[in-house]
C-alpha cells in the first residue's frame, strides 16, 4: 500500500444532476477500498437531481475512517463536470493550494438560457478559476466523450485525468478494475478509451 502524499486526501467531484458524478465517486471509492485504503464517500443531492448541482466527496486516509463531509476550504482536489460548478464548489471547499480539473463545457442554468442571468464568458471563467487555485486543468471532456460515442463518458474522461495527476495512491488500472466490477464487458471498451483519453488530455495540459 502506497503512503498518501496528502493525508487525508479529500477529493470533491461535482457537476449537474445527470452528469454522472455520483457514479464517478462510487467508482473511485471502490477502487480505493480494493487497494486497501480507508475511504468514505459522501453524496449531496436531493431535489438537485432535476438539473441542480450535485456534489460528492471522496475522503481517503491512512488512519481511522473519516466522516462523509470534509471541512470547508480543505479539498485537496476538485473534479468538476461543469466549469461553473467548479467555481461554486471552490467558494466552499477551495483554498490556495487546491488543484482543479474541470470539464470546459458549460451547462447553462435555465435563467441563463432565458437570457435573464449572465453566465461568465469562457475566458473570464477560466481565469477566475485559475486565480483561485494552485493549478487548473480545463479539459474538453464532453468533446472527448462525444468522440468516443456518448457524452455521458465525460465523467470517466475526467477520472482518467485525475489518475494521471498521480495525486492518489492508485492509478487508471485500479479505476478500470472498479469500472469492470460495475459494468458489463461490452461497455468496458469505451470506458477504457475514456480513461486513456483523460490521461492524454491532462498531459497535453
Amino acid at each position: 500500500m502506497k503512503a498518501l502524499g496528502h493525508d487525508p486526501l479529500d477529493i470533491v467531484i461535482t457537476g449537474v444532476g445527470g452528469q454522472g458524478n455520483v457514479l464517478a465517486s462510487q467508482v473511485l471509492g471502490r477502487a480505493l477500498l480494493t487497494a486497501g485504503y480507508e475511504v468514505t464517500v459522501g453524496e449531496t443531492y436531493g431535489l438537485s437531481q432535476r438539473g441542480g448541482p450535485v456534489m460528492s466527496q471522496v475522503r481517503l486516509s491512512s488512519g481511522p475512517v473519516l466522516g462523509p463531509l470534509m471541512p470547508e476550504h480543505r479539498a485537496t482536489a476538485i473534479v468538476s463536470l461543469e466549469p461553473l460548478e467548479a467555481l461554486r464548489v471552490l467558494g466552499t471547499y477551495g483554498h490556495p493550494d487546491v488543484i482543479v480539473i474541470t470539464n470546459d463545457r458549460p451547462l447553462r442554468p435555465l435563467a441563463v438560457l432565458a437570457g435573464e442571468q449572465a453566465y461568465p464568458g469562457d475566458q473570464e471563467l477560466k481565469s477566475t478559476l485559475a486565480s483561485l487555485c494552485a493549478r487548473l486543468w480545463a479539459l474538453p471532456a464532453t468533446e472527448a466523450a462525444l468522440e468516443l460515442g456518448n457524452h455521458i463518458l465525460a465523467n470517466v474522461v475526467l477520472l482518467g485525468a485525475l489518475c494521471a495527476l498521480e495525486l492518489m495512491p492508485i492509478g487508471a488500472n485500479e479505476v478500470e478494475e472498479a469500472l469492470a466490477s460495475m459494468f458489463p464487458e461490452k461497455l468496458m471498451g469505451p470506458n477504457r478509451a475514456a480513461l486513456a483519453r483523460g490521461a492524454e488530455l491532462l498531459k497535453e495540459g
Binding site: 471502490r30 475511504v39 459522501g42 453524496e43 438537485s48 466522516g67 435563467a111
Partner: protein, 634 residues
C-alpha cells in the same frame, strides 16, 4: 450475483448507508418489508425491490411499496404480530403519516423482531421540514438506535431485530441524510436464516386495543421502557473514547465531525467523547458518571437539544457540578443555510465539520492551526442553478394549459413531487403546500373561505398516498374546485417506484393495477376528464369545461414521465428546431414554457437537439409556427 446477497460473511464492500441497512436486515433474517419511498430513505426499499426482481429464487422476503406510511406500518405490524421479522421504512415526515398506528403499536408490541427506519433530513435537502424524529421515540416509548455511518447502520439494523424480539416491541433506527447517502467499507456477516411463514395466534387481550385492554398495555409499555433503559446502560452502542477533563456528548453523523475535529485540533489527550448510539432510552447512569468525570461538557447534536436537556436534567438531579454547553438557550441563525452556512450550533440545519470544529475550539478555548482559508472577496457570484422540470416533462404542458385558461387569479394548492417545481417562474402555479395530500383538502378550505377559483395539483402517486380521502371529503361536503391529477405513470421524484396506478405490465410486476379514472368516478366525482397534456388545444378546452363545472371536477392529465418512458416505453420522436427565417423573437416559447432544451441566441429562440425529446409543446405555442420537427436525414 449482488454482493448484498453474499451468503457468507467476512468480506468488506463499499456500501451506501441505505444498502448497509438492507444487508443488516438480511443478516437478521428479515422476512417481510414494507415502505413508502422518500428521500433520504428510498434506496432501502428500492434495493429490496431490485433484489427481489433480479434474484427471485435467492430472495426469501416479501416486499411491497405500500400506498402510504400509515398503511406500510399497519401492514408491517400485522406481519410482526404474526411472528415474522419485519422491516418498515420511511422518511421523517412519513412517520407523521404513520403516527396513529405507531402510538398504539407501541402498546401491543410484536411477536418477532420489527424495525422501523426513520430517515431524517436536516437542512431539508428534499423535504418540507426538518423535524427531529428522535422525539417520536419519546412520544411512543419505543427504543431508538442512531448509526453514525454505513458500517454501523448495518450492525445496528441487525442488532435492532434482536433487541426488538428481546423486548417484544418495535425498535427505531433513526438516520440522517448524511448517513443514508454516505458510502464506506462495510464488513459483511453471514446471511440470517429466514422464517418466511408463521401462524397468527389469537390473543385479543394483547392485540385488540379497547380501553380495558389498553390500560394494561400502557403498563406493559412502561415496563418495557424500564427494561430498555437498563439495556441502554450496557449497550455496546453507547461508548466512551479518549481521555481528559473535557467531554463531548454526540450522536449520529455528528460523531464523525467531532472525531475529525478533535484530531484536527490536536486535542485527543484533552477531550473524551461519549458517542450515544442507543439514544432512547438514554443511558442515564452512564451519562451521569461521564458528567462527573469531566469539568466541562459540550453537547453536539443536530436539530433539537434533546441530549443537552437530558444532560442538564441528569446533572441537576444528581447534583453534578459540571458546566454543560451546547445550543441552548437558543441563538437563531440570521439567514437560511442556502445563503450562509451557520457559524454556531443551533436548532436549525445540519452541522458540518468546520462548524463543529469551531464550536469545540470555542467551548474549550482551543486554537485551530490549520491551512489558510481562501479569501473569496471579488469572486463573482455564480448564477444559481435551481432544479427544473426536465425537457419533455408533461407537467410543464399541463401547467401551461391551466395557466392559459386560469391566469394568475386562481389559487393553486399544490402537492409533493416533481411538479412542486411549478412554484418557479415562469409557471408559478403553486400557492399552498404543507404535506402529501394537502392540495386536495386545502383546496376545499380555500374555496369555501374565499369563493375564489381554486385549481389544485397532485401527482398520481401522491393521490394514492393521501389524496383519495380528501377527494371523498370534497365530494361529500359539496366543495367547489378543480383537481388536476398529474398522472405520469410512476413515482418520479423519488426514483420511479411503482404505485397502485402504475401499469404493472410495463414493468413486469405481478401487482394489480388500479386505474385512476374509474377510481375517481367511484369516489363520486361527477365531472372527470382525462387529457393528453401535449395536445394543447384539446387540453385547454377540457380545463375550461372542468373549471366551469359547479362542484368538484377532476382532470386526469395522463402522460408518462419521459425519464421513466425511456426505460419502459421508448419512442422515436424527432427533436424540434427553430426555423430562423420564421422566428420573429416573440419568445413566447422561452417565457411561457422554460424548457431546459431551449436557449436564446441573437434575439431568437433556439433548441438544443441533444436535450429536446420532441414533445411538441413549444411548437404549439409559437405564434409564427416557426418550431418544426427535425426531418429525418434524406
Amino acid at each position: 450475483m449482488d454482493v448484498l446477497l453474499t451468503p457468507s460473511g467476512g468480506k468488506e464492500h463499499l456500501l451506501l448507508g441505505n444498502e448497509a441497512i438492507v444487508r443488516g436486515a438480511l443478516e437478521a433474517g428479515m422476512a417481510f418489508a414494507t415502505c413508502y419511498p422518500g428521500t433520504p430513505s428510498s434506496e432501502v426499499p428500492d434495493t429490496l425491490y431490485r433484489l427481489r426482481k433480479q434474484f427471485p429464487n435467492k430472495v426469501k422476503y416479501y416486499f411491497e411499496y405500500s400506498t402510504n406510511e400509515k398503511v406500510a406500518l399497519e401492514c408491517a405490524a400485522g406481519a410482526a404480530a404474526s411472528g415474522v421479522r419485519t422491516l418498515c421504512t420511511m422518511k421523517h415526515v412519513g412517520v407523521n403519516v404513520a403516527a396513529d398506528p405507531l402510538m398504539t403499536l407501541a402498546y401491543v408490541g410484536v411477536r418477532a423482531g420489527m424495525v422501523l427506519l426513520t430517515a431524517d433530513d436536516p437542512s431539508l435537502f428534499s423535504s418540507q421540514n426538518e423535524q427531529d424524529n428522535r422525539y417520536y421515540a419519546r412520544l411512543s416509548g419505543l427504543p431508538m438506535l442512531e448509526p453514525c455511518g454505513p458500517a454501523e447502520a448495518k450492525e445496528m439494523t441487525s442488532h435492532a431485530f434482536d433487541l426488538s424480539e428481546e423486548l417484544g416491541t418495535p425498535v427505531f433506527i433513526r438516520t440522517t441524510t448524511r448517513v443514508n447517502h454516505a458510502r464506506e467499507a462495510v464488513k459483511l456477516a453471514k446471511l440470517g436464516k429466514v422464517k418466511q411463514k408463521s401462524k397468527f395466534v389469537k390473543a385479543p387481550m394483547q392485540f385488540v386495543t379497547v380501553p380495558a385492554v389498553s390500560r394494561n398495555l400502557h403498563l406493559r409499555l412502561l415496563n418495557i421502557h424500564k427494561q430498555a433503559a437498563a439495556l441502554s446502560e450496557s449497550s455496546p452502542w453507547n461508548k466512551i473514547s479518549g481521555r481528559g477533563k473535557l467531554g463531548i456528548i454526540t450522536n449520529g453523523v455528528s460523531y464523525n465531525y467531532v472525531a475529525d475535529a478533535v484530531a484536527d485540533l490536536g486535542a485527543k489527550s484533552k477531550i473524551k467523547i461519549f458517542k450515544v448510539g442507543m439514544s432512547y432510552p438514554l443511558p442515564e447512569k452512564k451519562l451521569a458518571n461521564f458528567l462527573k468525570s469531566v469539568d466541562k461538557v459540550l453537547v453536539v447534536e443536530e436539530l433539537e437539544p434533546i441530549m443537552e436537556e437530558a444532560a442538564r436534567a441528569i446533572a441537576q438531579e444528581k447534583g453534578i457540578k459540571v458546566q454543560i454547553v451546547g445550543k441552548m438557550p437558543g441563538q437563531i441563525p440570521a439567514k437560511s443555510v442556502d445563503v450562509e452556512i451557520p457559524k454556531f450550533l443551533s436548532r436549525a440545519f445540519e452541522y458540518n465539520p468546520r462548524l463543529v470544529r469551531s464550536a469545540i475550539a470555542k467551548a474549550f478555548g482551543l486554537k485551530y492551526k490549520g491551512t489558510a482559508e481562501l479569501k473569496l472577496t471579488g469572486m463573482p457570484a455564480p448564477p444559481g442553478r435551481p432544479p427544473n422540470l426536465c425537457p419533455g416533462c408533461p407537467h410543464r404542458a399541463t401547467y401551461h394549459a391551466v395557466k392559459e385558461v386560469m391566469g394568475d387569479e386562481a389559487i393553486y394548492p399544490t402537492d409533493i413531487g416533481c411538479y412542486t417545481l411549478g412554484l418557479l417562474p415562469p409557471i408559478q402555479a403553486a400557492d399552498f403546500l404543507i404535506c402529501m395530500g394537502s392540495s386536495v383538502s386545502s383546496a376545499g378550505g380555500i374555496s369555501r373561505a374565499t369563493g375564489q377559483k381554486v385549481v389544485a395539483f397532485i401527482g398520481d402517486s401522491t393521490f394514492f398516498h393521501s389524496g383519495i380521502t380528501g377527494l371523498v371529503n370534497a365530494v361529500h361536503n359539496n366543495h367547489n374546485f378543480t383537481l388536476v391529477i398529474l398522472d405520469n405513470g410512476t413515482t418520479a421524484m423519488t426514483g420511479h417506484q411503482p404505485h397502485p396506478g402504475v401499469n404493472t405490465d410495463s414493468i413486469g410486476d405481478i401487482t394489480t393495477h388500479v386505474p385512476l379514472e374509474p377510481l375517481v368516478r367511484g369516489l363520486g366525482v361527477k365531472h372527470v376528464t382525462t387529457i393528453k397534456p401535449f395536445k394543447v388545444r384539446a387540453s385547454k378546452k377540457a380545463i375550461k369545461e372542468a373549471v366551469a363545472h359547479d362542484g368538484v371536477s377532476v382532470i386526469i392529465s395522463k402522460e408518462l414521465c419521459p425519464l421513466f418512458a425511456k426505460r419502459v416505453a421508448p419512442t422515436s420522436k424527432k427533436p424540434f428546431y427553430v426555423n430562423q427565417d420564421k422566428c420573429k423573437g416573440h419568445m413566447d416559447c422561452i417565457k411561457k414554457v422554460a424548457c431546459p432544451a431551449m436557449f436564446v441566441e441573437d434575439g431568437q429562440a433556439r433548441i438544443n437537439p441533444m436535450q429536446c425529446i420532441g414533445c411538441a409543446l413549444c411548437a404549439q405555442i409559437c405564434p409564427e409556427n416557426a418550431i418544426l420537427p427535425v426531418k429525418a436525414k434524406a
